[in-house]
Subunit: 275 residues, 7 copies
């Protein structure tokens, strides 16, 4: 009988110790959880001040969720530890799962991290014209994992964020309009530049799509059969193509009027005689 009382005694001793430990554990975790969540939200508000409140909430919730899951797992495992379970298998399983995430889903994690910063640093916004990950077009959606870009030919491109190594955002400020004109080696450079500058001055006065210029820069290069003159200006965003097209047409007409020839048929052009 002594054996039984002994057992009871031991078990109860154990239980008393365990009870104390459990209480300590619960208190500890409540505190850590509170502090952790506060740290998350405060460090977010500090560092991410410029983000819209809606997006902020999403980020905060996501991070706190992950934190809670991890904490809960640790709590469960330590609780089991108090009852003298061997915790190795649980921890090992968690480790392997962690590794699996690290290796196999490396790309996914990388997508999310990049996506997070794409949003945070506002590198791209919906309806902007960007070049990213080899795709070129209007952004339709920026997600944590993928960014959707609508090409100009109508294609919808899904780009994993990890592939976005550098974003070229073409919707952030005024754009350049640039036209290169080749004149003949026999033409007078001075004269041609005067004609071009006159066209530029017309545009400068009449076309308010121009923010700066346009102006004739000078002799850009000696081409294989022409002297290349460059005209440069700054236009409103997304207006550069239309402006360039209008300038090309006007310049051609002005040069025609001034009798300066663009040395066009660079290649032989002979009609068949015997037909």
């Amino acid at each position: 009988m002594e054996f039984i009382t002994d057992t009871i005694e031991k078990v109860s001793t154990l239980l008393v110790g365990q009870g104390l430990q459990i209480i300590l554990l619960v208190i500890g975790f409540l505190i850590v959880s509170k502090i952790g969540k506060k740290v998350i939200s405060s460090s977010l508000t500090k560092n991410v001040g410029a983000v819209s409140p809606g997006r902020m909430k999403t980020l905060e919730k996501m991070l706190q969720n992950v934190f809670s899951y991890v904490l809960f797992f640790v709590f469960i495992v330590m609780l089991l530890g108090i009852f003298n379970f061997d915790l190795a298998p649980l921890i090992a399983a968690a480790g392997v799962v962690g590794l699996a995430i690290g290796f196999g889903a490396q790309g996914l994690v990388s997508d999310v991290v990049t996506g997070f910063f794409l949003l945070l640093e506002r590198q791209v916004e919906v309806d902007e014209y960007v070049t990213a990950g080899g795709y070129d077009g209007i952004v339709e959606e920026v997600g944590l994992r993928t960014t959707q870009i609508r090409s100009f030919d109508g294609t919808l491109n899904f780009v994993p964020n990890r592939n976005i190594a550098g974003v070229s955002n073409h919707s952030r400020g005024s754009m350049r309009a640039l036209v290169d004109i080749g004149i003949s080696y026999d033409d007078n450079i001075e004269e041609a530049m005067a004609v071009l500058q006159k066209v530029c001055d017309e545009f400068k006065e009449n076309d308010d799509r121009f923010i700066d210029g346009p102006d004739v820069l000078g002799v850009q290069s000696f081409g294989s059969s022409d002297i290349v003159l460059r005209v440069l200006g700054k236009t409103e965003n997304m207006k550069q193509w239309a402006v360039e097209r209008d300038m090309r047409k006007r310049i051609k007409e002005a040069l025609d009027e001034a009798n300066i020839e663009i040395p066009y048929p660079h290649q032989v052009y002979i009609k068949k005689d015997n037909e």
Copy 2:
């Protein structure tokens, strides 16, 4: 004899403790299993709302299966732990297997993760025309590991999902029809653009494959021996090629009528005299 009773005593003490532990363990695992499965299905329904119910079920089952296997393994190992087996070899074996998955089958895991999101985010659907992983064609099947794309020349391409770094989906909205026409440097730009615009207007009125346009944009560039004019429109999906072919034919005819020449033989073309 005292030795035997002692042994019995010890064993029974052990057994009592073990019995308690086993009961605790079983209860714990039942709870964890229940909660885990619920978390999986609820987080799926929350995040993956847009997916069809059938696909949903498959995903749910797959995830719960993996969860069950891992849990079962952990349960077995902890049970053995209660009987004082040294669990290190089992855990080590599991770890090595986990590493093997991580390293060798890295590609496979990566395939599945990408495939999961291809399905989830509905980036491609069967019968859509896409460009992905360097292949171009109609999607025949989207699997967890491979996507099957039928090229236009009849080839069936099996593309591992991990190689799909960005999907260009050409079946999501109206497409662009674009025709570039080169006219001679001697021709009048104004006149040529008028002819082209007239053709465009014809199409606009009569061809309901066009959703927007077509219209003449202007002087796209100064070519080596021609001035390139650009015509642009928006058509129904997959109709762009047929539309472009029809426009090319009609434009050629219209320019012929207006006596505007496409400066065609860019290269010398002389018959042999001595034959």
Copy 3:
């Protein structure tokens, strides 16, 4: 003497405990082994239903073998553990071997995993014409590690399966026959298309290698010195080249008859005078 009896006593206590543990261990492993093998074969039959029975057996055996080896190793180590050996060195050795497999033979494991799925998903079969891993030809053998592809020039290519990132299988369905014809800018498009369509109709009626078409699509592009017309059809698998050759010959003859010229000598062609 008391010392000796004491030792015996302790040893026997130990042995009794060990005996119990060994029995438990053996029973446990027998059960796990049985269940494991069943899980393997049942999950194979479920997921791999479409594979031929012979290949099935091979896969099953291979997987069960690996499973047995691992289980046996674990069993041995746990048995030693019962006799209080320090198991760390054995496990460490196993771990290092596992790592070595993971790192050095990463490629090999990757080969086998990919090969497994090549077989399972029947992406390539012997005697099919495929493009894979940069090689192009008829498959001679699909192995777990390498695939053998016979190029059309007679070369036998051994391709490690890991290098097969996407398979283009040209033997799965009817193939496209496509012929592009350039006519002169001076010729009448309408007329030329009528001639081509007549040729197409001939083939449609008389040539049963065609499954669909051929038909004239229209003006594919404005070439540098010709207007390119496209003819398209669908043929039986592997017949596309012969069909294209026959069509080219017939089209040339038909155009000659209709006096429509393929603007051939794109380049100057003058005999030396002073010889």
Copy 4:
């Protein structure tokens, strides 16, 4: 009752030991924390002497923050260790988190490390003209994670620092102005070089954008249809393009005056006769 006093006794013994350990621990951590922070700030001032005080403070704070978080975590865990909690789960969780950082966010860490050195070594500064990560333009901002470069066409490029493998800074010193002129094989080299040198001397005297030169180097190469002469000089930073344009214009005029021809129409140039 003896059992209870015994328990109290044991617990109190434990508590005394624990009390001592806690005191030791607290003292230890205070010391380590002090020393660590000092080491950080002193090693920063030693190694990073050239950095502006503001930037210095930011770096110091950032590093001390990371140090504090890690130390605090270790303190918490060791405190728990004194109360005999099994610390494995906490440590394992931390390890997995560490691994996750290592793998998934590898790019992020790499960005920050590179960004740190970009700042520290002052490789790029705002308003400098640089080529980095495949982008070319004026630096608008250098951050720890991304560098913003404004291309000359107006595009704003966000470049992750990790992609900056080598920076070409075009705003650190005087730049080269280089003009290659092709003269005919029939012209006299000596004479042409004299004409060019005269132009160079003009610039040398009148143009103070030149820091060194310009001068004629000699016969750079035998071109396919011209002998290429090279003129070289050193100009103020960012003035090289304007200088080159002015020189090209002046050289063309000087050669015209000296009747030396740039063998321009490298390609055939014949007007159509039958128009």
Copy 5:
């Protein structure tokens, strides 16, 4: 003195236990060693049946050596374990060495693994003409680490096996002889094909280097200034080049006889008049 006898007693107890353990250990290792070596040699004979006996022996010995070293290390460490040494340092050292092999010498291990399979699967043999790892030539030696390939220009290339991602073996079966002939757009296709077929028939009858063909396939393509006809045949291995050379010569002569011209001077060819 009681202390001394006590110590002796304890030590002897220990020694008895240790003696038992050592005996067990030795027996165990002898068995494992025997079994392991048998498994190696039997699994080799099973899987590698086709390899020559000499090579077999080398492989067997190599594998058994590695197995013995590992086993011996484990034995030593476990022996030390019996004497209550802390085995952690030894195991850690072994682990670090293992890692070093895994990381630094990753390439070496990879070389050996690939080399093993190159030999085993007989992908290349000495004196065969292969393309592997970017090198092209006759194999002079296949080693476990490097393969030596003698290029046709006399260079001896040492190729690390890991770089051999796919072997093109040109010495495994008959090779293709292929000659493309361009005839003028003015020539009669039918007639030209008849002439070519006659040449082919000559070769078929008289040249026993041909295993199959040669035959005229038809119109392969419309070239820029010629219609390309293709002739195809199968020859003995390594005879394809000589055969192609002979066919080219004979075809040129046959076409000359039939007055069918290969439209040779695709480029202008005018003598200078003023010399």
Copy 6:
């Protein structure tokens, strides 16, 4: 009260043991520290004999610093171990930090290692002309992390050392001067070579920038419209370009004198008639 004396007794026993251990520890670490530093400096002087004393000191100090930090950390941890603290968290934290270094800052470590050897092996020195990491220019600074290369166009390039996979040092010995001259197929080779050799002999005698040669090598190749002759010599370092320019000019003049023509206008060159 017996309990208190008991506690004291135990604590003091503990303290005595701990005192002994601490003394042993301190002595051990002093010895190890001494030996370690000596090994470092002696192995440096042995292996790095050729390095300047200043650089030597820097390297020695750096390595000893790292050694001291690691040793100090180990000492602290073992000291804590003597007081029975659970050291796992500290070690785990250190391990995670180690991993973080390994992964995230992998590039940094790699930079330093490469930089160390760049310095040690004196592969590049300041003011040398090198090609490294895709950059080309004069070395301005060689650092442990980055090398600064000044391009000839004035750009300052910061190259991370890890990107320097192979250095081409153009300032280590005499350089080659090579001029290829194309003569007409109608000219006499013998005669042309004699003229060239005469020019070479002139240079050999009068130009002491030549260390070896120059000499005419012979017919280097049959060009598309000229026979290419090659002249080769060895010049003082960095003089090769000036020498080549001088030779080109002299050769042109010599050939003109000998009436041997460089067949220059490879391309058509016709003036417009109707202007």
Copy 7:
């Protein structure tokens, strides 16, 4: 006082046990050290028989050094283990250092491993002409970390051994001399081949730099404006270029004599009329 004697007693027991262990340890390490060094030198002499004795010694010493360092570290740690120090920190520190080597200095280890085999397998030797790692030239030094290659233009290239993925050694045996000659489509092939063969026979008889051939192979290809004939021979090492130059000159002369023209001016060549 009983307490003190007790302590002494325990300590002495401990010391006796420790003494025994230390003696065992020292003996064990002496044996292992001896055996290890013997294994190293014997396995070197067995496997590396062909290496020069000097190089042998260096390798042997290097390997034995590394072995000694590791062994010494293990010895120290196990010694500490006997005095009941907690060895975890030391081992952890060693592990982190090991990892650091593995990750950061991965390239360095890889260099040494490759360098070892470059030396061992005698792939390159000083003064040989090789192509390796993208560099081409004469080997000046082969080191464990870098190989120095002197380019023909005088540049000294430092190539890290890890970048040497395949060595092309051009100094191992006789080299090929190959000359391709284009004759006109109007010339008689038979006749031209006879002329070429006569030239070849001259060289065969008179030029002892030829080891085999030269001989005319036949019609290598139909060029765009010439029929290409190939001449092939084998020459002494490094003599191939001089031989080819001599043959080209002689062939040109022989063809001139036989009045067979190399159809040289593939491009138009017209003098300007109005000069």
